[in-house]
């Protein structure tokens, strides 16, 4: 950061980084054996809506990208828009390792095509506990955080989330600033 940026209070936008995603594959054993959580075979990548101009360009490129990603990985890849107007790329693959690899591939491609600033988060669903557990990966912070919605309105099980943090602290890069553990209610995964 230069002196001018410092004086005017500007900070450089951090580039989206998909590199820490692979830590989730490593954490699979702990999740499965110690916590009884199994990958549900679905993950989603969430990104910000594009402006009309970008949209036309992105459409064709995204479709191409998704076809390539699906062919190379053998995962099912689809696209949808949620009620907030945010775009989702939903990836289905029974193996967590393959799921993580495809999410990484799609994320890196989006960054390479110049959509890095739009890239928000990847969400992985795990079943086997009382409630579904979601691990959210924030691209800008390159860290994970747990999200356990109670299913009632905008409720979340904070006690369970803090427990998950404590259990996986040594294996996953976990977001240490709890105020950044933002929710993703109704994610299509």
């Amino acid at each position: 950061m230069g002196l001018r940026d410092l004086l005017f209070g500007r900070s450089k936008l951090k580039d989206a980084s998909p590199e820490q995603l692979f830590a989730l594959s490593t954490a699979r054993v702990t999740l499965e054996v110690e916590l009884g959580l199994r990958a549900a075979g679905r993950a989603g990548i969430c990104f910000k809506p594009l402006s009309a101009g970008e949209f036309a360009r992105a459409r064709t490129e995204l479709t191409e990208l998704l076809t390539v990603a699906a062919r190379d990985s053998g995962s099912q890849v689809s696209q949808s828009t949620d009620e907030h107007g945010f775009e989702w790329i939903v990836i289905e693959d029974p193996e967590l390792e393959d799921l993580v690899t495809t999410v990484h591939l799609v994320g890196s491609e989006l960054v390479a095509q110049g959509f890095g600033a739009q890239l928000l988060a990847a969400v992985f669903r795990f079943d086997g506990a009382e409630r579904p557990v979601f691990w959210i990966y924030g691209y800008k912070r390159a860290a994970f955080w747990p999200f356990v919605p109670t299913g009632k309105g905008q409720g979340r099980d904070n006690a369970e989330e803090l427990k998950l943090k404590a259990e996986l602290e040594n294996e996953l890069p976990i977001e240490q600033d709890l105020t950044r553990w933002l929710a993703l209610f109704g994610a299509p995964v």
Binding site: H84, E161, L162, L182
Partner: protein, 95 residues
């Protein structure tokens, strides 16, 4: 409602027991503060909501009325902390 009142009373009693047995009410006080503090820091807001607002945060106002306290099974943390501080004083070690 009576059961909930009883539950709140027992919670104070449990706090008191823990404080007297360990002889260190301040340990329980700091644990209580830590847990409620951490939970309070986890946001309710949705990532997409925050992104659309461009980091223009609106702090939710949390109004806790006395009426809602009557429906809780646990007393509010501030009251538990106050009760523990009182115990600490009677034990001759003001916090």
């Amino acid at each position: 409602m009576l059961i909930r009142a009883l539950s709140r009373y027992r919670e104070y009693a449990a706090d008191r027991g823990a404080a007297v047995i360990t002889g260190a009410p301040e340990n329980l006080m700091s644990a209580l503060q830590k847990i409620t503090g951490e939970m309070a820091r986890i946001p309710q807001r949705d990532l997409r909501q925050v992104e659309s607002m461009n980091a223009f945060f609106i702090v939710p106002t949390n109004i806790r009325t006395r009426a809602s306290e009557l429906l809780q099974t646990h007393p509010p943390t501030e009251k538990r902390l106050a009760a523990l501080a009182e115990i600490s004083r009677t034990m001759g070690r003001p916090v």
